[in-house]
Symmetry: C2
Subunit: 243 residues, 2 copies
């Protein structure tokens, strides 16, 4: 007895709309930044109500695939294809010390692995790009006395991108906001991140030398210094809370 009967598909209007739209995007080879048809046109072409089109687009908007600008149109924000897989993560309450430590543990896991992979796989072009970001970051660090979080971030992004695995960049990009909530309010530690500065170049050196285990070790050291800074900040905060 075959007990696997696929669930019957009665009505899944907006899903169908999304599938059709994804097909359209692929066929027209639309990339990020390009404008897709207006809601009214989509509704007419797909023979559904404009409201249904809107619900479908709302889903894509929530997934960050699309951006809607009133009065202007709807624009692609990322590459879409028919066989996309969505993994929406929602994590609650990252506003406290424990929450930030949690994200740092994730970052330690990913950053170490990505640095190692990068050391194995990065080609000449990728290494040059990483070094460029590193130079920019060091320049900013000197000029602005340690405030180089944006440039710092771009350096790490370049490593993730060169790891040859798009998932690293995606996951870490999704957590960017979470990290940066704190970067802005570094728990009272004024020189937050200073200690981690030198490791950026040591990581790069290992990558350029194609030394995966070295890169992994240096990445771990970097995260460890950030953790220390954080703990120090939390201790300060506790003291000042107590007044």
């Amino acid at each position: 007895m075959t007990d696997f009967l696929p669930p019957i598909q009665t009505t899944a209007r907006d899903d169908a709309v999304l599938k059709a739209l994804a097909g359209f995007v692929m066929q027209e080879k639309l990339g990020p930044g390009e404008k897709l048809p207006t809601e009214r046109i989509l509704a007419e072409r797909l023979k559904v109500s404009r409201n249904t089109v809107r619900e479908a687009l709302t889903r894509w908007e929530g997934l960050g695939l699309v951006e809607r600008r009133q009065g202007s149109g709807t624009y692609l924000k990322a590459a879409v294809s028919l066989d996309m897989l969505h993994m929406p993560l929602t994590l609650a309450g990252g506003n406290d010390f424990a929450g930030l430590m949690s994200t740092l543990e994730i970052r330690r896991a990913l950053e170490a692995e990505a640095a190692a992979l990068c050391a194995v796989r990065a080609g000449k072009a990728e290494i040059a790009e990483i070094e460029r970001k590193l130079d920019i970051m060091e320049e900013a660090f000197q000029t602005r006395a340690g405030m180089s979080s944006d440039e710092d971030w771009e350096f790490h992004q370049a490593i993730f991108r060169a790891s040859g695995n798009p998932l690293f960049e995606q996951i870490i990009a999704a957590m960017y906001e979470l990290f940066h909530r704190f970067w802005e309010h570094p728990l009272g530690v004024r020189d937050f991140g200073h200690a981690s500065f030198p490791y950026h170049r040591t990581i790069f050196n290992c990558i350029a030398a194609h030394d995966p285990e070295g890169a992994r070790a240096e990445a771990l050291k970097l995260i460890a210094t950030v953790e220390d800074d954080l703990k120090r900040g939390a201790a300060n905060l506790k003291l000042s809370d107590r007044k």
Copy 2:
């Protein structure tokens, strides 16, 4: 000259609806599985159109926070709070060999770190729970001649849960579907996963002995065997493609 003028915030109806709804859920202490008010009631109470309520709920549904059942109602699927952070990941084309290898690299990074953290933090209760899952899995493995993917999964989940960091479980749970697409069609390798079987107990032993580096090493070995199986499968597939 200050060249940073933040864009002004005019109207954001559906966002406001979600915020209000999140507040309501918190106030009423609604948990997963519980039913929330009708769309019509929400529309009336919030003084917005039912359409707007629907757009807001559609976003939550897309994020997996809520489930809508026609004729029945809308039900919470996860805990929601006001300070949630959403990180929708969408990855394209996970249907090929490269896509699965990508997910395995993520899994290697997270699984190793989680096992190590677990070895440090797991208490008696957590260790007992993990051993229970391990026993179930080994039982299933003996009985069903190697088909124990569900039980296998629960074992790993238990480790993630005992790592003391909820993010591990969330990320890996989000990738569950991706992993299991292949578990079902293991590229023609009939004994897929057999080689990894013994490492489950060695991982557990290290955790129970509070040996983080040992647990990390065993976890890495486990992933390595899965990677080998996968490569073997890909090779087979290539051969059979060629007929």
